[in-house]
């Protein structure tokens, strides 16, 4: 039963989050986020994207850490398939699970609280979501590289996820941030992904061009993915030189 529960538990948690924000949204009457219903739609999409980010950045390093402790990472390193490809593959299941939980969360918000998803524009969220996942993946790979070097999984990933949830507009518009820190919303892929997904799914107005956000996501993926691959390969080689590759 533990495998079904690994799907059910985060889904129930997301449903609690959606329910909580449904009531919080009733208290919100601010011009920056619109009516309570508009804020509810805004934050539900933020919760879904944050779930995908958490799966991309937090879960694979934690799985890698488990593999190190269990001694199974040694098998992966010594297989023709190899450590780097194995670490990349560790992202597959968490991302698919996060997408399924995201769809179920949106369905719950629709049925329980009348979230109005836009059709057929919401279908465009599928390729955009896939692009966003590819843009988030380098962060997970970079954290996995840090696990190989420093043997700690949650420190870096918790920092990244916490920072993104604050700085990238998951719960409130980044325009509310102080000017001195607002630039951080432009230098990571979470902000354009969230803005695009909101626009496509619930019709939130874009602050800029949709195509520019798509371009940003593609650019982050194109630049960061090879860099993360290099970091992961470098971490494995450094682990070999230090003799710490399979230490935990």
């Amino acid at each position: 039963m533990s495998y079904p529960f690994s799907f059910v538990t985060p889904l129930v948690s997301a449903m609690f989050g959606v329910t909580l924000f449904h009531y919080i949204a009733q208290l919100v009457h601010a011009p920056t986020v619109g009516t309570p219903d508009q804020y509810f739609a805004y934050v539900v999409v933020g919760i879904v994207i944050l779930g995908v980010l958490t799966s991309a950045v937090g879960t694979p390093p934690a799985v890698l850490r488990q593999e190190l402790v269990a001694g199974t990472f040694e098998r992966l390193v010594l297989s023709p398939f190899g450590a780097v490809r194995s670490a990349v593959c560790m992202m597959g299941f968490p991302l698919v699970r996060a997408v399924l939980i995201g769809v179920a969360t949106l369905a719950f918000a629709d049925v329980a609280f009348g979230l109005h998803l836009r059709w057929p524009d919401s279908l465009l969220a599928i390729p955009v979501g896939a692009l966003a996942a590819v843009a988030f993946a380098p962060f997970g790979l970079a954290v996995s590289a840090s696990v190989i070097l420093f043997k700690r999984a949650t420190v870096v990933s918790t920092l990244v996820i916490s920072a993104m949830s604050l700085l990238a507009g998951a719960y409130f518009p980044v325009s509310l941030l102080p000017a001195w820190i607002r630039w951080t919303s432009d230098v990571q892929p979470f902000t354009p992904a969230t803005e695009l997904m909101r626009h496509l799914m619930v019709g939130t107005a874009m602050t800029g061009s949709a195509w520019l956000d798509v371009l940003k996501l593609a650019a982050f993926a194109a630049v960061l993915l090879p860099a993360a691959g290099v970091a992961l390969t470098g971490a494995v080689q450094m682990g070999r030189r230090r003799g710490t590759l399979i230490e935990y």
């Binding site: 269990a70 001694g71 199974t72 040694e74 098998r75 010594l78 023709p80 070999r240 003799g243």
Partner: protein, 220 residues
């Protein structure tokens, strides 16, 4: 008569750990020829596992060269690893909730065996280590000796040219030890070789034996 090309060639391998004054391996050279079973003994902590890990490609030496069938462990990583089977010491390296059959299937994929060869390789290895009655059992629900046979099976499944064994008799009963002897015989018959590290030979017979002490390898 020409000398056989070694399956494994270690040339001048040295390794030193930080904050430890003497090197764990000091200019170690060794050739393991096809069809041979080589033993390396030594007290706890002398560097037997380090030597095996260097040969497996898990640890890079500070100096020296390693070749398996002429291949380099980093530059030719995939081909190198497809020729090496490694049994780590201890009892780790298994997924507790996976069945024995799932382990063998997973390893056949990680070893990148062609799809058409996988089932045969799994069946042959399961037969070799008498795992057929255990195939559908979870590994956390079988005995330690049976788990060791699963770990051994994973080391032999992809028909490597070189098998590196770190204390392979751990938890094995006499029947298990005989199965290992049989597998090593088959390996030698097809031109493969094995390097066996343990504190003592424990009654097994070897073509050559060495003793590792103070980082140096000497014939026993």
């Amino acid at each position: 008569m020409t000398a056989l090309t070694p399956v494994l060639r270690l040339d001048g391998i040295s390794k030193r750990w930080p904050k430890v004054p003497s090197p764990v391996l000091a200019d170690v050279s060794l050739g393991v020829e096809p069809g041979s079973l080589v033993f390396i003994g030594g007290a706890n902590g002398v560097g037997k596992t380090t030597l095996l890990r260097v040969a497996a490609g898990l640890i890079a030496p500070d100096s020296g060269e390693i070749r398996v069938g002429g291949l380099h462990p980093v530059r030719d990583r995939r081909a190198y690893q497809s020729r090496v089977g490694f049994l780590p010491a201890g009892t780790s390296g298994l997924y507790a909730r996976l069945t024995v059959a799932a382990h063998l299937r997973l390893w056949s994929r990680l070893a990148m065996l062609p799809r058409g060869r996988r089932e045969h390789a799994i069946e042959a290895t399961a037969a070799c280590f008498d795992l057929e009655p255990l195939l559908e059992r979870r590994v956390d629900r079988i005995s330690m000796g049976q788990r060791q046979r699963v770990r051994l099976a994973m080391s032999f499944l992809h028909e490597p040219a070189l098998v590196l064994l770190d204390e392979p008799l751990t938890s094995l009963d006499d029947a298990g030890a005989e199965l290992l002897t049989g597998a090593l015989g088959e390996l030698a018959a097809r031109g493969g070789a094995a390097l066996w590290c343990a504190p003592d030979p424990a009654g097994a017979s070897f073509d050559r034996s060495y003793w590792l002490e103070h980082g140096e390898l000497t014939p026993a």
